[in-house]
Symmetry: none
Subunit: 528 residues, 2 copies
Amino acid sequence: MSRRVIAYDSTLRDGAQAQGVSFSVEDKLKIVQRLDELGIGYVEAGNPGSNPKDLEFFTRVGELNLRHAKIIAFGSTRRIGITAAEDKNLQSLLSANTQAVAIFGKSWDYQVTDILRTSLQENLAMIGDTIAYLKAQGKEVVFDAEHFYDGYKANAEYALQTLQAAADAGADVLVLCDTNGGTFPDEIFAITKTVVARYPLLQIGIHCHNDCDMAVANSVAAIQAGAVQVQGTMNGIGERCGNANLVSIIPNVQLKLGFECISGAQLAELTAAARFVSEVANVAFNDKAPYVGYDAFSHKGGMHIDAVNKNPKSYEHISPNAVGNERHILVSEVAGRGAILSKLQQIDPTLTKESEAAIKILEHLKALEHEGYQFESAESSFELLMQKLLGKFQPFFTLKQYSVDIHEPSADGMNSSVTVHLIVEGQESGGSAQADGPVDALDQAMRNALAPFYPAIQDIKLVDYKVRVLDSNLATAAKVRVMIESTDQQTNWTTIGVSTDIIQASWLALKDAVEYKLLNAGKTRVVA
Amino acid sequence: MSRRVIAYDSTLRDGAQAQGVSFSVEDKLKIVQRLDELGIGYVEAGNPGSNPKDLEFFTRVGELNLRHAKIIAFGSTRRIGITAAEDKNLQSLLSANTQAVAIFGKSWDYQVTDILRTSLQENLAMIGDTIAYLKAQGKEVVFDAEHFYDGYKANAEYALQTLQAAADAGADVLVLCDTNGGTFPDEIFAITKTVVARYPLLQIGIHCHNDCDMAVANSVAAIQAGAVQVQGTMNGIGERCGNANLVSIIPNVQLKLGFECISGAQLAELTAAARFVSEVANVAFNDKAPYVGYDAFSHKGGMHIDAVNKNPKSYEHISPNAVGNERHILVSEVAGRGAILSKLQQIDPTLTKESEAAIKILEHLKALEHEGYQFESAESSFELLMQKLLGKFQPFFTLKQYSVDIHEPSADGMNSSVTVHLIVEGQESGGSAQADGPVDALDQAMRNALAPFYPAIQDIKLVDYKVRVLDSNLATAAKVRVMIESTDQQTNWTTIGVSTDIIQASWLALKDAVEYKLLNAGKTRVVA
């Protein structure tokens, strides 16, 4: 039977140290709930002494009906030269009223003498007294040995004495911390193995940071050496380069090493949970995140796509379903015929690899991408283009002319006036608009011209607008690529325009956005 | 003496497989130049057969005067059942005219039988024939053993036979690829060690992907096992979860393991080079990137800052200077004031920390940065602003009005007409221009209005124009930040403008560019 590894999440405590991350009480409660559903064993949530928000949190978290997660209040060893009972921070720690607490203490001799500026002996007493006191209050106690690996490399004997002090005082878990993130997997493995052998009856935990880009590998190495608790954060949120990323560690140890961590059903919720936490934390989600990123199972190279169509394992190390993610086939200059064919066949199933149409379209795409078009992130423009090249597209409107007038300065800030003349169903329709920028005015004017004919377009909201200057060393004469993401609340779609004129590039993307909506009006399929 | 490890960059080839990444020929040439300066040993740049852009690239890259980097053209083994000489792709590979080439072939038996759909014997022949043919053409040949680790785990004997076929044919380097990114560091170490022992006279290379979030650790493990060439990309750009990140690997092996990879002076350029490549690739730079991210040496709040002030090693695993990065103490006011003060004192040495002017300016800067201004990359706009806020700046001209008219379609493509009215030395001066985009026309019109007064501006060339959309979820109503880099052949300077209107943002940056030139006319100091 396989060994169990307990996931210990510190997103709400160590993660909250990250630059630009701060959680409201509501945020914290939402995240705790989600982590519990995910099967996380411990959720380290802060210190009620540190601020009033945390105090309110600990009062309210008790009302949640958690099934897996133990809430952890986090604090440090008692201050120098007083008893644990006299220490205000420890009193506030107890006021959190949690079943389990985590205490960090120093394991690197130099940190004791030069930073804490006390004796090595007093530091051992601080660790022992604090843990003994908390055990006497009936708490489960996790001891975080700060800078353990750096300490062990500098003075192994003293680093081990700090663990012994914690063990003698009754600590339940000894957590070895690579606080500065400078240790390598082979060192982590060897040192952890020594500690595991020394404390066969205690749980050993691992806490890593990503300063060498190896926090996940370091955590895995410690588990391979016998650690049974792994500390980290969702998406690796944390100070400096971040904490070890539980979202990568959990599937690594469970799918690749065969440890038990969370259930298979919970693992299938990993992608959703990772995206949920990044939304609540308001940290941009990494599309390239292992296992859970949008790109993690995206295939672009032509050969790769052919191979994945034959057998996914040829370019996928696991099945995306296992972690609740999915496969994406992308279109691009390097994708070759295979990818494009599968797209074309959605429109015209009679087409084959050899069809002249398919070959022509491939050539045309290469030329467009040479101009700066990039369709893998603008699939809706791509689908429109395919329809047009296959002669399947009935235009909903054509441009007769647009005029943009910008006068700066302007009295009311609305410095841009746009008039658009379209031919819609054989008749001319004009629309005008004013705005504080020409692209916004152009969008509104086009909609005004179309609204009488196509009320459906009123549902369209633009959610994103990106500009990329191509060959930017041509400066203001350079080409620009505009990408616009639109939504009608049911689905999102992205369109593209390229021109030396940013207004025209925007027009092309706006026009595609509307055409795509009209083409799919009534359809309900979701578009990437 | 320490062992040498050669960095092999594939940003322009494997990196270009990433979703949303697509390099123009200009982009590629700029990146090659920068990688060469960084001391990268090999730059894999694509295949002239794959698309017209690569063909043009290989023609022009020959004109660069590279000091370190060998350019690599990349291709696959010959097709089934023909001779190498008959293979079109190999001919186009040779047409790249590079001293060295890389060839990938399959090392996983299942990939040969089920994906390639040929015999194991023919695959060995394809590897051998291809490499022998390329060696006969006098090429240095790198053999990428695709899926080597998966292949070794499935059928070690056959995986090793594919290496033997390459070695027998005269391959110079055998690169072991973890193509699917599913292998763990301990496996990579053990398998690589076996191969290194088997081929003491050949160079062994490593090529990893980040699907388990361990590509850097895997690359390091292979080097510890004896690999002497490490393949990867800048910032880990690559398909799915990315390639191994050379920006992390290089300092890891050089600063932590003591290998020789690039010079210390080149290592100090690592941060700048990493940010440069992400700019050119238009991939958002990761502030939390190990070694080079803005946050990598950022310290937040109390204890950590006290400790770092006592001794940086207490929370820093290396000195930020070693990789050209810097420490950030995130206690704004005080630290911020100090930084800005030193800038102000360059203009007015009598200013002190307590000067009301300094305090006012800090408040003003905070407001501007809240609006989306970002002066660390636009020092010239910053210097102008300081001059203005200190009342030291004598305006060379003021805007009365500009008018932009855009009519699309236009007969000759020159769809944008701009008129600018300025007040210069008390009198009104107008300028007009037509161009195929409004920003270009605006630039020309302003120069026409100024030229009679300030001939010096005729020397100004715009070398770069960048647009970033801020709060992009506001779509076309969002603010945009425009950055313009200018040169007068002696010095380059960068200016910035922010507005909801891209034309106005461009105007602000163009105006600063000219004002800065006029302010410094005669001076010869170089401005970042």
